[in-house]
Amino acid sequence: MADLLFEIGLEEMPARMIAAAQAELLRRTLALLGAERLLPAGFDPLTDAESFSTPRRLAVRVRGVLARQQDVSEEVVGPAVKIAYKDGAATPAAEAFARKSGVAVADLKTVTTPKGEYLAATSVKTGRGAAEVIAELLPKELAAIYWAKTMYWRAGKPERFVRPVLWMLCLLGENVVPVSFGGRTAAPATLGHRVLSSGEEFEVVAPETYEAQLEGEYVLVDVEARRQIIRKALDHVTREVPGARWREDEALVDQVTHLTEWPTVLRGGFEAEYLALPEEVLVTVMRDHQKYFAVEDAAGKLAPHFLAVLNISTDEHSAGIIRQGNERVLRARFNDARFFWEFDQRVSLTERVKLLENVTFQKDLGSYAAKSERVRVLAAKLAEVANGRGAGLDAAAVDDAARLAKTDLTTELVKEFTELQGVIGGLYARSQGVSATVCDAIYDQYLPASASDRLPRSVEGALLGLADRMDTIAGMFGLGMEPTGSKDPFALRRAANAVVRILAESGLPLGLNDLMVATGAGSVVEKKVLAFFGERVEFYLRENRGQAYDVVKAVMSPGWDDVRDVAVRSEAVSEVRGGADFIAISAAFKRIKNILQQAATKNEVMPTAVSDTLLVQAEERELAMRSAVVSGEAEDLRRAGNYRSALQAIASLRPQVDGFFETVMVMAPEAELRGNRLALLMRIAADFSRIADFSEIVTAG
């Protein structure tokens, strides 16, 4: 047994791809070793395998890899005995089989099979050495790693990979495994930090010294250790400013972790005069364009500092140089932003409405001016419906916001910082004296941008967001540009996810059907859009609400127009689904559904009402009576929105349901009795499926 260490050195990989590739390399290496019987008994991937990465390398280490595969003996069946022997002597068929199996004719055995007697041989497959197996198979695993974008680099284009391979290191214990890939063959050597190390290849003594030796050459290969060092250094450097805190930004910490081999943190500053610019703009420049962390003071206000994560160690002299460089770049970017901020304000948003005629929304759907007009109409209709239900929306503010919402697309600042669309519009509106309600609605119109993002602050903003997205979705579907498979170039799924979340969580009293009607789309488009939304509602319940597949299916069945309601129902079903009575009822409903389906395929005649006189057995009378009572109770509770109690009431029907199925034969020979029993089941299925279709619930066993 020996430890396996493999490292592939590359020209800098894209930071966004490293984590997944690191995990995949580990997964593939373990799968290879497992399939090739090279992992020891009791191997635990959590403790016996590790993976590492930096921008320039991916590595794995597996403990206790077997030196060679065990020999495997396997019984091979050959020709029939009557063909293999003639008059007691072996025929060429027997000799050929013995040769093929690597045994003497005398060692062949006879086995009895259902087809008669056959020759058999125990052939021993000699296990191969681990190094040989790894050298042969690991290159295939490397080639199969998924990258979002790959390249050719060698003449003749023999392989695609994320970036050119610079070196490989592969040790099994202290021996080199000559893995070849991308024009390189593994050696026992690796390279350190681009600048801080000597730049010469150096030998890794053994798999277990890997991290320590690399650390000696200024490379921290352990990603989590790097992340912690960065976090600590951010804290440490921020402490130099009394009362200050760095703005937590997990995504940015992750990004800089994958951009550095030897991270250090440097604090720089900028002139306080730039703080007059909106924080949103300053933070975007720092985070998105410079990968700097923003710093805030004790009151949570942005402070004139930034934190840069470097990939080098510094002394006072070099820190000064690097600080000055970064400060100059930031100053230039802030200057640009300030120039745009002031320049844009020369033309008010109201004046910009006209300019939207020159900005195309989509070739066949016209300009953003046309879109804005459509959104205004749509938003007005929705506001009226919602206000009719007591929403108390400021309809005039919604209209103003819809009119101005897209005007920031004509500003230089949004052309420069597209990620700030909406936000910039809201900020300009505020500085131009537009009412706070309108400003906030414009500012928040693209929220939520992701599943974890916040919702618009106001119902007006929520309504604007709904109207804007519904216009896009209905328009695109109208042109036949709906998403297919993994293709969704206009991000309609994301738009629909946001619609569903707003409906479920904003408190606006609107259903999907209200939105559809307001778009005025034709029935063909409406049908397609609603089906598309069905998937999005299911996605929302599963991903945002954490509901199980079967619960989602069950609660979607009675309808999902009211997204808030379907979410509440799913939670009630999840709460009670574990109860014994509920499980039994679910199983019974599955049975009822099957019976009714079979009856339908046989064209059974089913009366619309249950006849009491045809209920001949005590158990069916009992069920009919009790279910009628429970149905009334459950329906009252359901109407009151008390789904949990309603479900419990339904579950209380279990004794009668069980009794019915134990003693009553539904498909009785007498047509009248049969029809009446089917009618009873039908009534029960209809009465009790208004919260969820229980037959969809998966019950164990």
Partner: protein
């Protein structure tokens, strides 16, 4: 950086000398800037056409690059109508080409141990040229100073061998080396006798002011459209003739060799520049934009295809 440090920093023209000498010593042919307007060094035929086909090449040249919409009348300290790129094409790229690149920074006087250098993913794409590649932006103390690209496709054709392209943003590097906030304060040259500085502003400000005004305010839109149509028509005419010449049963070698594909390419580049002017002038609506770009793509990709064919035909004839 101290005052004495500033004096030691290379002037703009010294920087160019150093980089050109550096790459010449590594086997690059030094070419002069291409004399037709281009938006980037990539569009010079020394890059765009030479990366096609199997013939290896190492070439370097400074390329003034015009981007009319980026003009700011000389008032913005960081944006230019015309900036200067130093373009290096290595076909095929040598082993450990990043290390060679880093040596060129050292040659400029940059002590790598005193700076923060990162290679961050940045993929390049020029849809109009049917061209793309993967690579990095090289960040030096937070400033992007170089674009590094491994070309994968050009003119819609897969490249084999591929080329490595290194594009230095000379103004940015000069700002960095000389530690100046405004491009116009870059020391372009120093009088060897008096030590007096000639700044970037002294040399180029007038050009920025006037060409910004031309691109944004004066350029005659209807003339520009006419130019575009004339250049386009002539280019298409040449492409049509190319089909006849290359498609002939047994074309005379000299006819093939002399067919002016390079002339057709210049006409296509003219179209691209006129398009940029129209765009800066605000004369192209978003709807028209896609259509005009598709027209120019037809020219540029068409030229690339003819050029590749011609190279094969000429190589075949001389073999």
């Amino acid at each position: 950086m101290s005052e004495s440090g500033k004096k030691k920093a290379l002037t703009f023209q010294e920087m160019l000398f150093v980089l050109q000498r550096f790459w010449a010593e590594r086997g690059c042919v030094l070419q002069q800037p291409y004399d037709v307007e281009v938006g980037a060094g990539t569009m010079s035929p020394d890059t765009f056409l030479r990366v096609l086909g199997p013939k290896p090449i190492r070439i370097a040249y400074a390329q003034p690059s015009r981007r009319p919409a980026d003009g700011r009348y000389g008032e913005n300290p960081n944006r230019l109508f015309r900036h200067t790129q130093l373009q290096v094409i290595l076909k095929p790229p040598p082993e450990r080409v990043q290390d060679v690149y880093l040596e060129s920074l050292v040659a400029l006087g940059i002590d790598l141990r005193e700076h923060d250098i990162k290679f961050e993913e940045d993929n390049w794409e020029w849809p109009v040229g049917g061209a793309w590649g993967v690579g990095w932006q090289v960040m030096l103390d937070g400033q992007e100073i170089t674009q590094f690209t491994y070309f994968q496709q050009c003119g819609g054709m897969d490249l084999d061998p591929i080329s490595g392209e290194i594009t230095y943003g000379l103004e940015r590097i000069a700002q960095f080396l000389q530690d100046v906030d405004s491009i116009y304060d870059i020391v372009w040259a120093r009088d060897p006798v008096t030590g007096e500085a000639m700044t970037y502003g002294d040399v180029r400000l007038e050009e920025e002011q006037q060409f910004s005004a031309y691109s944004f305010d004066y350029a005659d839109v209807s003339s520009l459209w006419k130019h575009l149509e004339l250049y386009e028509a002539e280019c298409l005419g040449l492409l049509a003739q190319a089909k006849v010449v290359m498609g002939a049963e047994a074309p005379a070698e000299v006819t093939v060799k002399r067919f002016p594909t390079l002339g057709a390419y210049e006409l296509a580049l003219k179209c691209s520049h006129v398009f940029n002017l129209l765009d800066a002038r605000g004369a192209i609506s978003v709807t028209e934009r896609v259509g005009v770009m598709a027209r120019i793509r037809t020219l540029i990709v068409g030229v690339a295809k003819v050029y590749a064919e011609q190279q094969v035909a000429v190589a075949g004839a001389s073999a």
